[in-house]
Structure formats: structure tokens, C-alpha cells
Amino acid sequence: MPSPRSAPITKVTDSCASEPIHIPGSIQPHGFLFVLDRANGTILQASESVLRHLGIPASALLGAKLAELVRDPDGEFPQRLEAATQAEHAPFHLGSLTFLSGSGDFDLVVHRSGEAILAEFEPAAPASQLAGLGDFVGRAQQCETVDDLCELAVEEIKKLTGYGRVVAYEFNSEGHGRVNAERHDPGYVSFRGLHFPASDIPEQARRLYLVNRLRCIPDARYEPSPLVPRDNPLTGAPTDLSFAELRSISPSHLRYMEAMGTMASMSISLVVQGRLWGMISCHHAQPRTVPLAVRTQTNLLAQIVSLQIEARRAQGEAARRHELQHLTGMLLSAMAEHDNVPAGLISVPQALLEFARAGGAAVVHSGECLTVGQTPERDDILALCARLPGMAKSGLFHTRDLPAVAPEFASVRKQACGVLAISISELHPNYVLWFRPEWIRSINWAGRGPIPDAEAAARATERTFRPWPQEIRGQSLPWEPWELDSAAELRTAITGVVLRKAEELAGLADELGRTNQELEAFSYSVSHDLRAPLRHIAGYAELLQEYEGAQLSARASRYLANIGDSARFAGRLVDALLTFSQMGRSALKPTQVNLTQTMEQIRRELAPDLQGREVDWVSHELPEVYADAGYIHLALRNLLSNAIKYTRDREPAVIEVGAHPQGGGHVIYVRDNGVGFDMKYAGKLFGVFQRLHRMEDFEGTGIGLANVRRIVERHGGRVWAEGVPDRGATFYLFLPGADSGAAAAPSASHKNSRS
């Protein structure tokens, strides 16, 4: 079964399509034609049919001046002829006239083609045959739909012309014509609802229909009347008859008429926005002549219909564009509200779907895929997104037939036969996608479906017009131009939103930088200005004790000692805070650090704290890590110092240090059998000034573990702890491998020199 989508009209190369139908060299004999020299009005070519109408052989007229052959009481014929042929390719009805020889009136239509003037004569109709158009315009305006309008038009044209059957059809985007209106006399087969394949009207015929909008064939069995001589003697080439009403018919079209059982026909183009929107075709079983005046009226009527269709389409399009603007606004405000493109779009699923009249939609952002409605599976959507960069143009991709452009997606045809996708980031593969299901419908072809190739078309000479049903599959509903426009606009708006967000982020980073500087200035002044008075308090308390101690009561001495202790402790707090803040600010200088050596050094440093203590050390092999040696030293020293501190009432204290590899890095742990802690406070352990023990039990500034955490996090690692009250605690720190890059990352903060 031929597939309709494989027959784009431009590829038709059958005999009809290649036939030079604009230069047949002959005309239909119900009139006659002169080709005049524009310079002097002499006859260059004449059709043989002039003999039948004027009784003069064509050859006898060559070289004669047309103005001298016709009755011209005013002597103004030459001027009128010249005036009417100023513009090229614009046929003009110059009225009726009579020849000096012969009898009867002839309607004369003239047009210019290059330096030739084509003068076509037809026997004039009696005035009584003319009927008015009445109130056609008024009634046309009242039609609700375009199909109604076409019904009205065919009815009117049938009345005007008296043809046995008048049909209107509309071309779809592939060029197939659907009969949407019909009036016919008894005895004529109805074509209503039938689809005429695009191949029925070859491309060059369509082009002629666009420029020469009315075509009349009074008798399909006519004898073509050749021009004499065959070529224009001035150019040596056949005369272009594109705009000639009498132009002879292509033999294949005559066969077509014969198959249709039509002896006479007329077709009028419906041109909307410069495109061949549709046709009105009139058929008659017997030969039928329609006078020029009636044809002119019919043409006028068809133009009214064209304009009406154009107005309706413009209205419909404007309404849809307006709706799309409204939906765009909704989507944008949802994004603004959510401060997030994907969440914003998904929060208004109806608007998102309606925006593209889609069955499903997806937002793919940073590898995440959010969907609404009927969509393919997430993995299929991500796979599709991976293909989009190569298929999208200007950030937009659309297809009615995804499997045709990407066969691997044939399985998702049910949800995503049609895809419209916009890229919403210049840098990242982020997309909004809309999906339309396969549009399955049954149509009745007029006799046959589209012919995919020339040979088949040539063979298909036996043509009937009986309904030939076919189920059309493989495509979604088409993406309309305004839908694509709106999608492009939405894309621009979203990338604008994203850009604005990036700017906001940059602004935020600036602000953060300023805040950091302020914080730095703050800790600097805390360290200077707070430390000085603490020093003074401690100093004077000491001096008071030293110089006046003898005169103080024991209680006063104790108070004085407390003052000194408190001041010194406050001093330590200030120092610890300053160290903590410096740790967050200063840049890391990572190198390969041998932790076994580091740990031994720390143990030597802490030896004074172990005086008089019994400690069992369990030391396992420690790895080399890529880290800032000084900071890692500080962190491990803190953990070890804590272990010593919290095991001081254990006999013996057991402190174990070890490590194991994990995820490309290392976990290092310090375990003790000390006082431990309740796991429900585990989350507080690593906070600044968080203490789980009373000051008098275990001294400390409450900032040591916060330092450990900050150091480890600056290295891209993490810390955690396990403990059981009175049974001991284990502190873990994970340091990632050097290749993770975290340890080598430059510090986010920067130091400013101060003066």
C-alpha cells in the first residue's frame, strides 16, 4: 500500500509533470487568437480557428494590422489596445467588437507577453444570459465555517454556469485535495468527502493555476487549433500561452476528464495568502460553453470566497496566536513564581500541553526529566534529547513523523509521533519537548491514492473515481507555523529568564563576596579589639594578685583567680574563632601527605598531656593522602587530643587509629574507650560552640570539631561520628582521592590586603 507521506508533490516526475503545458502551440477552437507585434499591431501568428469564426485562413491574416480588421468608429482601438497591455501578464477584457468581414460580436481579451500582444476572441454571449451575484457577499459573511462558505460558493456557481456538478476542494499541506463542498444534478456521481491525490495536479499546472486563475474547457473532444506559423517569427520561439484563456489542454488532462465522464469543465483557483488553497471545479457530461461574462462573474465570486477564507484564516490564526501569547505569559509567570524553569513549567501542566496542543510534554534539565501527559519513557526522552543538537535549527526541532527522521524511536510512535522541542540553554542539553500521538484516520481517495513514482503514474492510465479507502498513519497532526513561532518566542523568553537568573546569581556571588569581606573585617577586629581588653583583665588580675595578694582574703583571691581564668579562657575562645574563620578563608595548599608520619608527630606533640596516663595505642597503617599538610595535621591533632581528653579516667585508655580505602578515597578513624556520647546528639558534635559535656568535666572551647569538619569539607570530604555513652566514641573522616579534584580546587574566598 503506498504511503501518503512518501509522495511529496515536488518529487512527482511523471509525464504530466514534465510536459511543457504553457507552450502547447495550439488553442481550443471555440475562439481564435492573434499574436500581435506590440510595436506596430501587425499579426505575427494566428490560430487556424480564425477560419471557422471569420471565414479567413490564418495565413491570409499574417502581417495585417488588427486595427484595420475591426470596426472602430471612434478610431481609438489602437490606443485602447495599448493602454490595456501596459502591464505584462494582465489579461484585460477590451469589450466586444465586430470584424469588418464576417458577422457576430466577439469578446476580446488582451494581454501582453514580452513584446507580443495576445488577442483572444470568443463569440460574445447575449446580455440576457447574465445574472447578478445578488447578495453573495452578505451571505458569504454569514457562513460559520469555511466548508459552509464553499457550499454556498458551489451552489452559486452552479446556478451561474449551469454545470452538472460543481465541487470545491481544499489542498492539505501535502497537496492532496479534499472535496469539502458539492452540488450536482441527478445522474452525476458525488465526489463529496473524497481525497484527490496531489499527483492528480502536476506541479507546473499548480503554478499556472496560481497565475491564471480560471480555466475553461467547453469540449474535451475538441480538435486543437494550431498557431500559424508555429513559432513567433520575431523570437523564433513558441509563444508562451500561460495567460491565454484559450490555451490548449494537456492530453493527460483530457484523459483524466474522459475517465471522469466529463465533456466540459471549468476550474477556478482559490488563492489564499498567495498560496493555492483550493479549487472550484465544474463538470458537465456534455460539451458546454460558458460565455466570458459569466466566467468573469464566476471568477469574481471565487475571489470573494478566497478573500473570505483568507479573512477567516487570519482571524483563526490571530485568535490562536492570541491564545498562545496568553499561554506563554502563564508559563513565564509560573517559571518566575517558582524561580525555576522546570518546576515552573510543570506546575501548569494544562497550559504547557495546550501551548502546543500536545498529548504530553517533558522538561529535561540538568539530566532530570519531568513529564506531564502521555509521553515516552524517561530513557527514551533523554535519548531523544541526545539526538536533538544535531537535528535542531536555531534551538528548535519539529517533526510530524519522528521515526522517519530517527528510526530508533519507532517504538514511541504511539505517544511521540510528532515532536516539537526547544533548547532552553545555550550551554547545556536542556530542552522543553511536546509530543503528539500518531494521527490515525481513514480517508477515501478518489479512485486511487497518491502515485509515488513516474512509472506507476504512467501505467495508471485506467482511472476511476470510486472511493478507495485508506487508513492514514505515520504522522501526527501538523505543527502550525504560529505554534512554531510561539515555541521560538517561548524559547527566547526562557533563555532570557535563564540569563537573568545567571545575572542574579552573579549578583548574589558579588554580594556573598562583599559579605565575606565584611566577615573577614569583623573577625579581624574581633581578634584585635576583643583580645586586647581580655589581655588587660588577665594582666591586671595577675598584677593585683601579685602586688596585693597578701592583703586579700582567701575569697577575694579566689575571685581574682576566676577573673583571670575567665579572661584567659575568653582569649582562647577568640583565638579559636579566629582560627576557625581563617580556615574557611585561606587557600589550601595540597601536597602528598604521609598520615602515618603526621600521626607520629602529633603523638609527640601531645606527649605532655599523657604524663601519668596509661594509654594503649592501637596504630594501623595510614595511607598517603593529597591534602593540605598543615590543616590535616590540625584536624587529626584535634581528634587525637579529644580522644586523650575524654579517656582520662580510663585505666587503661585505649586509642585506636586506622584507615580503609573507600570510593577512590580514604576513611580515617580515631576510636577511643572514653566517655562517648549519646547518638541523638551526633548532629550537634561538629557545630561551633557545641558541647556535650560540662565545662568542669572536660575543658575546651567547643570549636575543635567544628574546625575538623571545616578542614575536611574544604578538602571535599566529610566527617561523622559514632558513640555510646560511657563506652567510647569513633570519629571518622573521609578524604576523597586526588583525582576527584576537590582537594586541589582553589579556595572560593579571597583575601584582601588591609592598610
Binding site: 584585635h528 586586647a532 581580655l534 589581655r535 579572661a567 590586603s753
Partner: protein, 155 residues
């Protein structure tokens, strides 16, 4: 025997008093010249203004606070190191904190030592005492200092 004086530059009266006590406790025999800001210290060193009458000669050591009114310690240090007459005088920077950037800049400007004043008073006395002994007594005085000049005249 006349020892070169110690020049103390300190604006805070309490720090001044505590430093003087610490110097006293360290039992250094040197006189202590007190100036209260960088500008006054520079006047002393260059024998200008109120100090134009003082005898010539540089101090044994300058104990210089970092934060000072009018001209701060770093600025004064820069001028001392830029002066041909003064550049060899030992300068010990006394400060409240070990803020890294100050430290780096002080060493860049050629400070001889840098002391973060401890909160604990006995520690402070110990630090001042050590410094005084090192710079005012043990350290070989640079050429042009009073002691060298005196030694030369005695010979």
C-alpha cells in the same frame, strides 16, 4: 655604662602600663623611651620636633605596636627600612592577633620578630623579657648604633 634605650611605640595606656611592667620584671637595664603613635616615634628616630635636642644614636630595639593612630606600625616599619640611618635597627612587632596578612606584610617589610601578645600575663612577661634580652642585650648591635660607637671611643 649607658645602654641604648628601648623604643616602645604603644598607644593603648593599659597595654603601655602592662608592657612597662613586663619590661621592668625582665630586669633589663635599658632605658625605655615611650612614644604614643607612629608619627611621634618617627620624630624620635629622626630627631625632629620635640626630639630635636636628644643625643644622636638609634635605640637598641623598637617594640612597635601594629595598630597605631596617625601612622600605623607597618607604615613606620616601611619608613625605617627605607631610611639609610635606621634600616638596621631591630624592630619587634607587637600585636594583638596573628592575622595572617599582617604577619606576611610585616615580614615582607623586614621585621625582625613578630609577637602576638599573649592573654596570659606571665606568658606576656616571659615574651617581653625574652625579646628584650635577645634584641637589647645579646644581639650584636648593628653598625652606627650607640654601643658600637661607644666601644670605639673607649678603645
Amino acid at each position: 655604662m649607658m645602654l641604648k634605650p628601648i623604643l616602645l611605640v604603644e598607644d593603648n595606656p593599659r597595654d603601655l602600663e602592662l608592657t612597662l611592667i613586663a619590661l621592668e620584671k625582665s630586669q633589663l637595664a635599658n632605658d625605655v623611651v615611650i612614644t604614643r603613635d607612629g608619627a611621634e616615634a618617627l620624630d624620635y628616630l629622626t630627631r625632629r620636633g620635640p626630639y630635636q635636642e636628644r643625643p644622636a644614636g638609634n635605640p637598641a630595639v623598637i617594640l612597635l605596636d601594629l595598630k597605631l593612630p596617625k601612622m600605623d606600625g607597618l607604615e613606620l616599619l616601611r619608613l625605617i627600612r627605607a631610611s639609610a640611618d635606621l634600616r638596621n635597627v631591630p624592630v619587634v612587632m607587637l600585636t594583638s592577633s596573628n592575622e595572617e596578612s599582617d604577619l606576611v606584610r610585616a615580614y615582607a617589610l623586614g621585621v625582625n620578630a613578630y609577637v602576638v601578645k599573649p592573654v596570659d600575663f606571665p606568658d606576656f612577661v616571659r615574651a617581653i623579657s625574652d625579646l628584650g634580652v635577645f634584641w637589647a642585650v645579646l644581639n650584636e648591635p648593628p653598625p652606627g648604633s650607640l654601643r658600637r660607637a661607644r666601644n670605639l671611643t673607649q678603645e
